[in-house]
Symmetry: C2
Subunit: 312 residues, 2 copies
């Protein structure tokens, strides 16, 4: 059995783990990122974590998931907004302090790889993971390999326009999938419906839970609230358009959703499957339809995926 170290470099915390080639976590570690201390200090923290995790065990390789755009070929973080890093040669810095030549991967891509190698899509020929959080991220794994483009960039599924000239997106485009399927978008839809429907149960639900969040409309729907149901319907409609686009572009074996909104489980997945199946191109002529699943590795996906990326 081979062992790898996976690092998940986030804006708030650095997490690390020793991971077996089958995706099992043997040891974990975590520390605050303290990005404001600068790249050298953050790199020092990462190097210390790697050296601690590696102590007394043979480690075959190290991978690190980073936010933003990475260049694994060149060994640099090209741009990571919430770390304030630009064109930073983190591989050289870590090699000097650990002896390892650390492989670099986008953090959302690492999580997607983990789900395919050791999670909900294990064994699938191809899978697309869609993360429904503050934004919409994701990763595409084809024949066991992450899809990265000519620029080394990860697939930016959230920045596929599904509503031409629609809601403005942080990326500068209008009508992105992210602007309709993120938790942020769901909250926007919920608030708009609450304004129109003072009678809706969403008001009392939000008050009880300390404000409107991604659960408000789903909870209202479960109480039989018409306005809440309509919000869920609207959200699933747009989510299904983006997922069906992914299906028609990749025809993957699995589409897996993760992130806060995916915690709704079958309340989300059942209507989503129904809506996507009606939009799948050529569905009548094949028995091989994509399975729409929920990710299962949760917060561990980042370190597991980073470790298994080092295996590639």
């Amino acid at each position: 059995m081979k062992y790898y170290i996976g690092i998940d470099l986030g804006g708030t915390n650095i997490k690390g783990a020793v991971v077996s080639e089958t995706g099992e976590i043997l040891r974990q570690s975590s520390c605050p990122t303290r990005a404001e201390a600068g790249a050298a200090a953050v790199t020092e923290s990462i190097a210390n974590m790697i050296n601690d995790l590696a102590a007394g065990r043979e480690i075959t390789g190290v991978g690190m998931g980073c936010p933003g755009t990475v260049d694994d070929a060149g060994g640099t973080v090209v741009y990571a907004c919430n770390l304030g890093w630009m064109h930073y040669d983190v591989r050289a810095a870590l090699r000097e302090k650990t002896g390892f030549s650390v492989r670099l991967v986008n953090d959302a891509n690492a999580a997607a790889l983990a789900e395919v190698k050791a999670g909900c899509a294990k064994g699938a020929q191809s899978a697309v993971v869609v993360t429904l959080g503050t934004g919409v991220g994701g990763g595409v794994v084809l024949d066991g390999k992450l899809l990265t483009g000519y620029s080394g960039a990860a697939s930016e599924l959230g920045h596929m326009v599904i509503v031409a000239d629609g809601e403005p997106c942080a990326c500068g485009r209008r009508g992105c999938f992210e602007a309709y399927a993120s938790a942020t978008a769901l909250i926007r839809m919920t608030k708009a419906a609450m304004e129109k429907h003072p009678e809706s149960a969403m008001h009392s639900i939000a008050a009880e839970n300390g404000g409107v969040d991604g659960r408000t409309a789903f909870l209202a729907q479960q109480q039989g609230d018409a306005a809440g149901s309509a919000v869920v319907g609207e959200y699933v409609h747009y989510l299904s358009i983006g997922v069906a686009n992914i299906v028609n572009i990749f025809f993957p074996e699995v589409v897996a959703v993760s992130g806060g909104v995916s915690n709704q489980g079958e309340n989300l997945l059942a209507p989503l499957r129904q809506a996507v199946s009606q939009q799948e191109y050529g569905a009548a002529y094949t028995t091989r339809h994509p399975r729409i699943l929920r990710c299962i590795l949760g917060n561990d996906a980042g370190v597991i995926g980073a470790a298994l990326f080092a295996e590639e």
Copy 2:
């Protein structure tokens, strides 16, 4: 030098060629498809063409581009609407008559592969070909390999929704890229503008050319016609949304357009490049931008791609 036979099976004609491993055509052949005579008769015509083309030359392999959905692993045409074929084991039938185990590929995919191996995107690490014809088809080539999904289906880029709840598409969805970027869509936009603008030069241009077609608005624009310019602007706007989606999903080295509308050349490509560059995710942080090109192999792309698919 190795030689392959490529067959391009269309609804109207069957074309065949002997193609070198570098994509050069050495000999060509063509005959009517006569789909109405049935699958066995069409297969007989294909087999005769293969045997004629193979005579006196060592052929390493044979590939065939087919309309619709093919299953290369199983050797069958799963569904080809304009041939009336469904789950037809064409490989077994052709093996019996020619001795070759013919590789099967979707025809639009074959054309895309040809452009990457021997055409406008030669040498590119990755490329996406978008065909702007009656519909919108295409193919995705990553690291020299065609992207086909779990079901064996080709990437259906034309059936990616870019306008949620927009114009109805033949596939059953609403607002597909095809419904906004095909020649058919361009003609619809042209006719709508002509109705609103009786003063437009598009009326006389259409009358001179025997009717409205994909060139009408472009010709009017070249004469300084405002309504014609607006139609071209509207068409390029939607085309750029779909192309920018493709860029943000694949970050390919090349996006190449083919089909009738691509004959507009720089009149189409220059504004398209401008519009796409503004929608490319993370463009500010990379110098590796996709090149947007026009395909160069024309009608030969089908046989060349089919032949080179046999090389895979």
